[in-house]
Amino acid sequence: MEIDLSQFHEVFFEESFEGLDVMEQELLNLEEDTDLENVNTIFRAAHSIKGGSATFNFSQVAEFTHVMETLLDEMRDGKRAITREIIDLLLKSVDCLRGMLNKLQDGEEVSNDYVELVDYFNQLLSSDSSGSKQQDSGESNAADLGSSEPKSAISGWSISFAPENYILQTGNEPIRMFKELAGLGGLKVEADLSKVPSFSELDPELCFISWQLELDTSEDEQPVKEVFEWVEDDCKLSIKAIGSDPSSDVLEQDEKLSESVVEEVKEEVNTSDTTKTDTSTEKKLVPIRTEQSKQTSVKKAAATASIRVGIDKVDTLIDLVGELVITQSMLGELGENFDMSKVEQLISGLRELEANTRELQESVMRIRMLPIGFVFNRLPRMVRDLSAQLGKKIDLKIVGEETELDKTVMEQIGDPLTHLVRNALDHGVESVEDRIAAGKPEIGVLTLNAFHQGGNIIIEIKDDGKGIDPEIIYAKAVEKGMIEDGIDIPHEQIIGMIMEPGFSTAAVVSDVSGRGVGMDVVKRNINNLGGSVDIASVLGEGTTFTIRLPLTLAILDGQLVRSADQIYVIPLASIVESIPLSGIQVTRIAGDMPVYKNEGEYIPIVDLRREFDIQLEKQSTNEGLIAIVEGENRKIAIKIDELLGQQQVVIKSLESHYKSIQGVSGATILGDGRVSLILDIVGLSKRSSERMSRDREQVA
């Protein structure tokens, strides 16, 4: 049966990219902590990529992962020390693989860039394995004949392979394995049919054949063994080397020879070390190249993008669908024998149906929400590579990676964020010498912080570097003719000019930044998303970029409250406590300002009815309660009539069809389909205090 494998390609690519991400992360972890479990994880990821690519006939990828795997295997067995060089090499391979897979995904030919890396791997492998063979030559293959022979003497392998009869049921196909063997060299296969029963007793699902194979190759045992890796436990297997018929005394000579060979190889290792440092300067170009391909691939992948959803969200969906089915069957039953006495029931049933449907809709929307960690995760690698390239020491701190934001927003924030981080590394953090001279710790700290505030998502990129010098910016702006000399401009505004098109203060244009495109693109991208970028910088102490993005689709944990006949949502995170009005003493200070005294501090009370001009026949009473809320280190007590439930609400913008209203960060749609406004605590307290001072002025 012919199966069209191309239908699985997408899945393969997706899984492989995921695998590469895992490898990358684990490799970075490996630098700090050489845990064997990490190596195993990397190995597994590499192995599945290899398996998949071989299945789909992406032979170059398979070939490449194969050598990677060999190295990883040695690391796993403790035969090879985990050094920074090896991690570097593996990281580079991850990039290379990503590039290859990207090309394959786009249906392009894979370039031969990888061959260079493969050669490097082989060099590393061959050099060191002969070294390790000397140390523990009795290792692993001592039982097998001829394994201690120098590699050059091997002309092939004789393999006897007798699978258990259930081999086919495990999904292994000997023919495929033989094909792979044939890829290593000339293969001669002889089948032993002696155990095959007569036709009447033959079970077509069992395998009765065993094979005798002769492989003509100069490869060592490892690749041969690997072909049988999946079936090792399900067969009788013996692999014997076929010598190139050297007589035993020649062999002894050979062994002496091989020692000198080892010496030579060792020298080679040394020279390759020096060439390595040479090539490392060349290879600086490599990360940039892959960077570019990464960017294009992001755009292309968007067409067939998929999303990974937390199981809890799926569970919520399933629950909701369950509810929906129950309501539907209830209504169905009602409809079968309906009379007017059941009208009430019908109405409540329909209401339930509406609520369920709406909740279902919202849950589906929620699937689009992903933690920002997805974007943050690609930064450690970049910081690592860049700091090495720039010769700076940088510690990257990530806070708030679980903050959720909409997938579309996230996709578009990735590049600006990357650019800002690159910029902070290149221009912000000083070199080690400069830092020491400035009396700062040697290691610079770059902090990424994401959180929700007042209906926005805030992402902060903060470095403790040299800061931005407004005077340099000013001079540069004058030089570029953007402003006239002598005009007095506030510092913040001057610093803001680095986001203007064509502005770059870097004296030398480096690979990293300084081309003058970028900061303005960052600003434009963020503005396109309806957000803003603020820069705060203290000369000598560091710079903070604050990206503020609207939560057009974001979710908020809200407390529903009632004031008069209106229901409002207060962000749960901002609520400190709520106290019944009857239980507190309301004092009036400083000219009729109602305050609540709480442990030595006076918290102003904001009555929503009065503040929002809610018209109602009944005047506000002393019933109800106050909710003490905090925003930007300022507390206010909001007077409300009733606390209702808590729920997650989907934030919708008021501004898409109307204006923004101070004190309101957006709106949401409640379970009954009605619109409810979400309070913005910071804005509310600001306007309330402004109103009070205005009232005072009017009196005066």
Partner: protein, 183 residues
């Protein structure tokens, strides 16, 4: 579009007496939807009508001017609602069975914006050539002259054509405490 409107109008027809349903017979000029506000007839180009909904109490917006009734949920979109009777300074603004909200759309700077407008009832859909629209006499009318685009004669009635760009312009809506939130 025409059939959509016809559907909506069919729903409304039971409440309306003077319905003239000869849609599509004439194809000259543009089509207009006319409606009743405080006993007078007004019209808008039918292409700017998104849909017509029955009256429902919208969610109150804090500190809004009296003609902004609040916002409502239009299948997940938050749409503001303006009462044209208040906007045009008519004394009475009762909410009856015939009271409807016409969802109008305007394009502003490549962005489409929606606004619900409360009227006393939908009256008619008719065709009219550009040449048949005359200027509104400049004589200090009750309705802000920026909101009117012309006068048309339909049968015996005079119908005022509305200038939607101004009418729905957010700049002309005086809302206290707006535009400065979130720094």
């Amino acid at each position: 579009m025409a059939s959509d409107i016809q559907d909506v109008l069919n729903e409304q027809s039971q409440n309306l007496t003077s319905m003239n349903m000869d849609l599509g017979d004439e194809d000259k000029g543009s089509q207009f939807l006319s409606f009743d506000v405080g006993g007078e007839e007004f019209a808008v180009n039918i292409l700017s009508v998104q849909e017509i909904r029955g009256w429902e109490n919208p969610t109150f917006l804090p500190n809004s001017p009296i003609y902004i009734k609040g916002v409502l949920n239009l299948r997940g979109t938050i749409v503001p609602v303006m009462d044209l009777r208040n906007r045009f300074n008519f004394k009475k603004a009762n909410y009856l069975d015939t009271t409807v909200i016409i969802i109008l759309k305007v394009s502003h700077a490549d962005k489409e914006r929606l606004m619900g407008c409360v009227v006393d009832g939908v009256s008619d859909v008719f065709n009219m050539e550009e040449s048949e629209i005359s200027d509104v006499p400049d004589y200090g009318s009750g309705v802000d002259s920026r909101f009117t685009a012309g006068v048309m004669t339909v049968g015996e009635h005079a119908v005022t054509l509305l200038e939607l760009t101004n009418l729905l312009s957010l700049d002309l809506i005086k809302h206290t405490y707006t535009g400065v939130s979130n720094g």
